[in-house]
Symmetry: C2
Subunit: 413 residues, 2 copies
């Protein structure tokens, strides 16, 4: 029986870590950027590696540059890990990814202080890349851990300056040929603490989100073809207006998700109109759809309804239509045992928690394919993320770290 | 009493003129371009001037480069004019403007052959510029004729190569200081034959359109501001989606014009979405509206309804809104006497004609401010215009030229 009164999270140190890591890659224009293998990424990894050593953890980097800080288990060769990613989007904030790394470090330190060494090894995991902001190599670090990166990927991807991913690896002392060695088979559970990146917790007054699913994502490119016409001389009843048709599609897509209710979402984030003149009826409109639902059947239903609605509008208006899928990710359920450990932690802490889906993608959805995984959300102020405005006050972070510590204790001690 | 059996339009010559003028400014990629005062514009003016001389007309150019071919009246110092513009849009067709010039030449030649010299002088008018495709100087020629071009305009406008309008004038021997001398006070009536540039005549099986009004045109730039959000983590009910709001506006604008019925039209021809990423709820959408109606009260009502609808959608959805007028032209009625002359001509020719509004702008709307004006439309194949596909077969042109000749006869003989 652990004396939980003795579990103290060092809030001051955690805030200090957030602030110091948040300066690495800071941009003059505001926000920060740490791209995979770039100079700021290296500085960030080195900084965290130093903090791991201070905490008495044994630091190790794998073949792609993921960093692990390990406290050896006393009774098992298996391990339990917690962490998140160290890279950021361009003009990103201080919390996305970084908070999960620093929260794991803080929780493990608190556990070691309060409870001594674990039975299963505890690892603080820093994945080298999740965002895909330098190379389009999303989930690079977590995919390597489950053996889903082929060495050939390093030859196929280039950053915006034309630097190859393989060369970028070699610059930081990594060998693309060794990528398969990053695969792990000894991790029994993974917990990722992350900012919510939305305003559901804040709006509902919840302290913690316990993620039950990472949402399914369907993205497509929709090309609507009408007839380009003179805006003055073509009566409304003789038009085949690609813009008017696309507008109806966009509106109906939003209505579909709204009527389906939370957590269904559908977004049209881009649109281009041709020829694009004030006085010409558009002949062609291209837009994108992003539709998400965490329940597999509902996810399929939403994507199908979007498709059917677009087709119905095009048919009724005599418009040409081409729909090209961009990606289609099925929802990923979190592991019941890991979730239970998190919920038990939240209950023990007396926190108002919400079981919810993650509407964004995370390393956990990749790791979950091979490793029982779960996620803890803390609130995002005003839901802001991927922005310099990203913020969560330390008072809202510490309860999440305490829940994380309790869950790790349940799984590793 | 004229022997109308003797009025013969030389269809072969007219087709030959259309073809030859249509080669001046032809582009390798298809279509043609004659920009104000450019080399091809000069060649076109010279060509038509030669044809005027062949027809026994006295050719004269005014201070801005409008060309007049005159048959002196026997009984009046006043004159009656017919024509259109010689410049084209980029990648334009052979008929827009040019047909009105060549039809006037053909009609005047036929009248002189059949009826001898007129009482009031007859002039074939070639306006130097209507489209504003080289300089943004729309209606330059016709505005000069009614004294509405200030010499200072020549200093204010530049083409895409940075050439000033004044320098372009001097290159073809014109002096910007003399622009006011282009004003005319002696024209009693003007008739412009033009392709319809729409498909109303074709769809209705009408041979001729008699224009009663040139439509009013209201254009505005609409900026819709919402809140940029993560497309995955922001529930539909917590969004202020600028794109979904703009889509509803676009659809409602089209519905307004459709419900008002012909000839009301409303068009959204441009749209830009920011930040413009598949997975980001747009924070800002900018689009343009073009709304037209030929009846003054309806024109005002349509513009007001568009405005009110946009405001209602923005208010209901909690979106910011800025509406900036681009232009607002009131409808311009054609002159009743000139219209009557055209209608009488169409009736005498036994043609199925339609009294209709022009949905596009024309020199006639400018000249009408000082000169009784009217327009004759001939059908446009498939409504195509401002395009290399612009076409009207000679069999559909000749009836229009006959109506023009009859109307000119009524006004000048």
């Amino acid at each position: 029986v652990t004396d939980w009164a003795r579990l103290t999270i060092d809030a001051e140190e955690l805030q200090n870590h957030i602030d110091r890591l948040g300066e690495v890659g800071a941009l003059e224009a505001g926000g920060l950027f740490r791209g995979l293998y770039d100079r700021n990424w290296q500085r960030a990894i080195d900084l965290v590696e130093g903090w791991m050593a201070e905490a008495g953890l044994v630091a190790r980097r794998d073949a792609v540059g993921n960093l692990f800080g390990r406290s050896e288990g006393t009774a098992s060769s298996r391990c339990v890990a917690s962490g998140s990613h160290i890279d950021t989007v361009r003009s990103g904030g201080r919390y996305d990814g970084a908070l999960g790394v620093l929260a794991a470090l803080s929780a493990v330190k608190a556990l070691l202080r309060a409870c001594g060494p674990p039975k299963k090894s505890l690892e603080v995991l820093v994945t080298c890349e999740e965002e895909g902001s330098r190379f389009r190599s999303n989930f690079w670090g977590s995919r390597a851990i489950i053996g889903k990166v082929l060495p050939s990927e390093a030859r196929a991807l280039f950053d915006s300056d034309g630097v190859g991913l393989g060369d970028a690896m070699r610059e930081v002392g990594l060998d693309p040929a060794r990528i398969p060695q990053a695969a792990r088979g000894d991790i029994d559970a993974f917990i990722e603490l992350h900012i919510e990146q939305g305003r559901v917790l804040e709006a509902g007054g919840h302290a913690i989100g316990v993620v039950d699913t990472i949402t399914g994502m369907h993205q497509a490119r929709v090309e609507v073809t009408g007839r380009q016409d003179h805006a003055g001389t073509t009566p409304m009843d003789l038009r085949r207006d690609a813009m008017a048709g696309a507008a109806e599609m966009v509106q109906r897509i939003a209505e579909l998700a709204t009527e389906m209710g939370r957590p269904a979402v559908a977004t049209v984030g881009t649109m281009s109109v041709r020829p694009g003149a004030v006085n010409i009826v558009p002949g062609e409109v291209v837009f994108t759809v992003d539709a998400r639902h965490p329940v597999p059947e509902q996810h399929v239903r939403l994507a199908e309804q979007v498709r059917r609605t677009i087709e119905e509008v095009a048919r009724r208006r005599g418009l040409g239509l081409q729909v090209q899928p961009i990606l289609d990710h099925q929802p990923v359920p979190m592991d019941a045992t890991v979730m239970a450990a998190i919920e038990a932690g939240a209950l023990a802490e007396g926190l108002d928690y919400l079981v919810m889906a993650s509407g964004a993608g995370h390393d956990s959805q990749i790791l979950a394919e091979r490793i029982p995984a779960g996620m803890i959300f803390v609130p995002s102020r005003d839901g802001r993320s991927h922005s310099p405005a990203e913020h969560t006050p330390i008072e809202q972070i510490v309860p999440g770290v305490r829940v994380l510590a309790r869950a790790l204790h349940r799984l590793a001690y």
